[in-house]
């Protein structure tokens, strides 16, 4: 029996020997743990796993995973990962990034990796703050937010990351929360299963510089009313099935179920519908519950497959002959 086929990986196999240097209580620990669990559930051979990151707290992620890892420079993880995946399509390439890294300094690379559809899993830890530089506002910080660099309140309008990814034609958009362990694992697994750029926004708490960033949504007492778990083919309901989302023309609205309205009157989630996705990405608290899970999934050919097909095609059309190539078209001989 082949030793390769009998190898199995446990969660601890993905833990590196490095001391984790995130602040105690940081949401990143939860994400790391779920990711390692998912790697084991998926049995991704450790050597085939490559984790690429930019700069920021989130970008320390690769150091803590016992696989191949590349902690690159601020904002550029998508570009590094693109080069890696195109030249090594056999690897499972994951990108760890943050709201500043991905959407601010790396914004250009972000939109282009989405439209190219390179088969990467992008985990964007969104804590709505710059943590590693100690507390400046980020491109997802709320309007009016007071931070070290905005003592009078931020006058920047924030990005809605899912809408941005969709606008850049990402083929997969998922959303989850650091503390939603099971849901997070489901989204990560779906992201891995999807061939193409899988963008996963993970709401993450920075307990030092933006503590309680997502409490308004994720506190146990209010969670059911303020977030809505989406499932493909299922009606959009929340608050224990007491509320739902209904379309009024082309706009969604929250309706109380009962009194003649039931789940069957509600909007049904279709992951593959880009028009519906546009509506979903714009549903935000407090007007709506925040949709969670796989928000959009619509496969199309991936960049690295197309790129490698062109190489195969070129080889099929013309046998490489370096000597002939160097000679070019017109030559003359001196005797």
């Amino acid at each position: 029996m082949n030793a390769e086929t009998t190898r199995t990986f446990a969660k601890k196999d993905y833990m590196s020997d490095q001391i984790i240097r995130w602040c105690p209580g940081c949401g990143d620990y939860a994400i790391l743990s779920q990711a390692q669990t998912v790697f084991a559930e998926l049995q991704i051979p450790r050597e085939k796993l490559a984790v690429v990151s930019g700069i920021g707290c989130s970008s320390r992620f690769p150091y803590y995973i016992n696989s191949y890892g590349f902690h690159s420079i601020h904002g550029r993880a998508f570009a590094v990962a693109t080069g890696l995946k195109v030249s090594r399509p056999d690897l499972s390439v994951w990108v760890a990034t943050g709201d500043g890294d991905a959407l601010s300094i790396g914004g250009n690379h972000f939109i282009h990796v989405c439209r190219r559809n390179v088969d990467l899993q992008i985990l964007m830890f969104n804590n709505r703050i710059y943590g590693l530089t100690k507390g400046q506002y980020s491109p997802t910080s709320e309007f009016g937010k007071k931070t070290k660099s905005t003592p009078m309140g931020s006058i920047d309008h924030p990005f809605q990351p899912g809408a941005l990814a969709l606008g850049a034609d990402a083929s997969f958009v998922g959303r989850t929360v650091d503390i939603f362990t099971k849901d997070q694992r489901d989204v990560l697994k779906a992201a891995h299963e999807h061939k193409g750029t899988s963008f996963v926004e993970i709401y993450q708490n920075c307990n030092i510089f933006n503590d309680g960033a997502w409490d308004a949504l994720t506190e146990k007492a209010v969670r059911d009313e303020r977030v809505m778990m989406l499932e493909h083919g299922k009606p959009m309901t929340f608050a224990g099935g007491t509320c739902g989302i209904k379309l009024n023309g082309i706009r969604p609205e929250v309706v109380q179920l009962g009194n003649g309205l039931s789940a069957s009157d509600c909007l049904v989630h279709d992951e593959r519908d880009p028009f519906l996705a546009a509506i979903i990405m714009r549903m935000d608290f407090p007007a709506f519950p925040v949709p969670m899970g796989v928000l959009y999934r619509n496969p199309r050919p991936t960049y690295e497959v197309l790129a490698n097909e062109q190489i195969a095609q070129a080889k099929a059309e013309r046998t490489p002959n370096l000597q002939k190539l160097l000679s070019g078209g017109d030559t003359w001989t001196v005797k």
Binding site: P62, A79, G83, L325
Partner: protein, 607 residues
């Protein structure tokens, strides 16, 4: 019967509007001349705008070609013949022409409206401007129109054939065959344009043969060359071919991440057509993504490459630092152009030398090479790949616009004779450390992701030597800074070769000034001046014998197309006081300029 004069070399220049097809006729004349067996050097010169307003000085595009029956090294200082398509082209170029030279002009454009566009107040054909030149006005528009009559071409399309008419004249004048260009037209164009261009070319040739205006024609015999197969090659072509060859010799797939920029884009174009050689070409969203994708590919085990020019170099510097820190092989090609900022996008300059050597945050040494001629780009590209893979370091190869678009006949090398330098990836997990070092080269091991048991993390944060773990300790940092410097300093570099005398004046040059300097030095020696030429191809680290070589001479002169950059490096490394000869005009040195400086700075015997 018209006479045929034998010449040993000729410099001609075609000049017209940027839409007149000057680069096409220039490159056609070049190919035909190369096939004829002359040595040659070319200099295309075109504006940054694709189509500047017609008839203006800003829109003038030129192509200069020097061909000879002997070895030549430059496109020539002053043309003997100028073919000018309009008053602006005449005005922009006439001052370069040799006194008594031949001027062929496109007559229909010499009308008041066109002079005024060129900023002239009178017809230059009549106001004495051309006194002392041999002027031949040709009504190219009418003649080419007659030639293509009946093919159903519109006015604009008809007008576009006149460059081939002019080329026909030039072919007659210099006794070149029409065959190679006819062949090219047949493959490049579809009817009716194919037929129209053929007719215009032949009509131009017949016109020159029959009309009384041309009293003599010229012949430049093929030169005696080293036996072998030759082709004409441009610098960017040679660079691309060198990279393909390098990847094959290293046994690696090549990954190019690039963003379009003048004058480097042609390397991207060439390599995009060579995918069958395991080449990925990735046109990135910007210069930063271009280099970062190449770094990612290098991490994956490919030969990572990025190509750019000055402004792009500026944007790539942080990622170069990353490649230095992660000690990955990477090739960065900078086809230099006039700077700073956007500068002179289509003009040549050598002003990125200090940026290449020093222009990064932190102590960030890497290897820097510079190609001397268009054909040399091939060999320097291979050398860049060899150093990068052998020493696990980024390497910058400097070329420039003059080399990139200039061309020369090139002895096609025998692929088998080019030494291979196969890369071995580490696969043995036993005792593996990501930053353990090869004692000879100080290189760390290159491991391909996918190799079981060698999983490791790299990144831009300071590393502990050996383990590669993140480390902020004071002494480790100093040790790593010095180790990275020692690795680059220890790159084996061939000694500097000195051509000429062994005392007196030494002219130290680098990059594309090779031709002008070599010709000037040889000329000066014939005049009895004690002078030598040393050409630096390894900019960093510099050759080990550099200081000794400089000290053998009484004076050192350093011509370069910048405000004095190599000269700083030479002084710094040798403490020899070198004389700077800067030229920052977006143009290459003329032989006469270097020669004048040699005469001025020569060391008199009675010293």
């Amino acid at each position: 019967m018209k006479s045929v004069q034998a010449l040993d070399h000729v410099v001609i220049r075609f000049a017209g509007d940027s839409g007149d097809g000057m680069q096409v006729v220039g490159s056609q004349f070049t190919n035909t001349t190369a096939l004829h067996g002359n040595d040659l050097a070319t200099f295309p010169d075109y504006p940054a705008e694709i189509r500047a307003p017609a008839g203006t000085l800003a829109g003038v595009s030129g192509f200069q070609l020097h061909f000879a029956s002997h070895d030549i090294f430059t496109p020539g200082d002053a043309p003997e013949a100028l073919i000018a398509f309009n008053p602006a082209a005449l005005k922009a170029n006439i001052s370069d022409l040799k006194r008594g030279g031949l001027v062929i002009v496109n007559q229909e454009k010499f009308v008041p409206r066109e002079w005024e566009r060129a900023g002239l107040t009178a017809n230059p054909l009549e106001d004495g401007t051309l006194e002392g030149y041999q002027v031949i006005p040709v009504d190219m528009a009418r003649l080419s129109k007659e030639a293509v009559e009946g093919l159903g071409l519109g006015t604009k399309e008809t007008d576009r054939t006149k460059n081939f008419f002019a080329l026909g004249i030039a072919y007659w004048l210099y006794s070149r065959p029409l065959g190679p260009t006819e062949l090219w037209i047949n493959t490049k164009f579809k009817d009716p344009y194919r037929e129209a261009n053929l007719r215009a070319l032949r009509a131009g040739h017949a016109y020159a043969e029959n009309v009384e205006l041309f009293t003599s024609r010229y012949e430049v015999a093929p030169m005696r060359q080293t036996p072998g197969v030759y082709r004409n090659i441009m610098g960017n072509q040679a660079t691309a071919l060198g990279l393909v060859t390098a990847a094959q010799k290293a046994g690696l797939p090549l990954f190019l991440g690039s963003y379009p920029i003048t004058p480097a884009s042609d390397i991207l174009h060439y390599l995009s057509g060579m995918k069958a050689y395991d080449i990925h070409t990735f046109q990135a969203e910007d210069e930063i993504a271009a280099i970062c994708s190449a770094v990612g590919a290098a991490f994956g085990g490919a030969l990572g490459l990025t190509t750019t020019s000055g402004p792009g170099m500026a944007l790539k510097t942080e990622a170069m630092g990353l490649a230095i820190m992660t000690e990955l092989p990477l090739i960065i090609i900078d086809v230099q152009r006039g700077g700073p900022s956007t500068g002179l996008p289509t003009k040549t300059e050598q002003s990125d030398l200090l940026q290449a050597v020093y222009g990064r945050n932190g102590e960030a040494p890497l290897a820097v090479l510079a190609a001397a001629t268009p054909g040399d780009c091939f060999y320097m590209a291979i050398e860049a790949a060899r150093i990068a893979t052998q020493y696990m370091t980024p390497v910058i190869l400097l070329t420039d616009g003059y080399l990139a678009n200039g061309s020369e006949p090139w002895l096609v090398p025998d692929v088998e004779q080019i030494p291979a330098f196969p890369v071995t990836f580490r696969t043995d997990p036993d005792g593996f450390k990501p930053y353990a070092r090869n004692p000879d080269t100080l290189a760390r091991p290159w491991v391909k992701p996918g190799t079981p048991g060698l999983e490791h993390r790299i990144g831009g944060i300071e590393k502990q030597d050996g383990t590669g773990n993140v480390n902020y300790e004071a002494l480790n940092h100093e040790h790593m800074v010095k180790t990275r410097a020692a690795k680059v300093a220890g790159i084996k570099v061939p000694d500097l070769e000195v051509h000429g005398d062994d005392s007196g004046l030494l002219v130290v040059a680098w990059g594309s000034t090779f031709g002008a300097v070599r010709v000037a030095v040889d000329q000066a020696r014939r005049e009895g001046i004690k002078v030598a030429h040393a050409h630096v191809r390894n900019i960093w680290p510099l050759p080990g014998n550099l200081e000794a070589a400089l000290r053998r001479f009484d004076r050192v002169l350093v011509p370069e197309m910048n405000n004095g950059q190599l000269v700083k490096l030479l002084r710094d490394r040798s403490l020899v006081d070198c004389i700077s000869l800067p030229k920052v005009q977006g143009q290459a040195f003329k032989v006469s300029e270097v020669l004048a400086a040699i005469r001025h700075h020569q060391v008199s015997e009675a010293k």
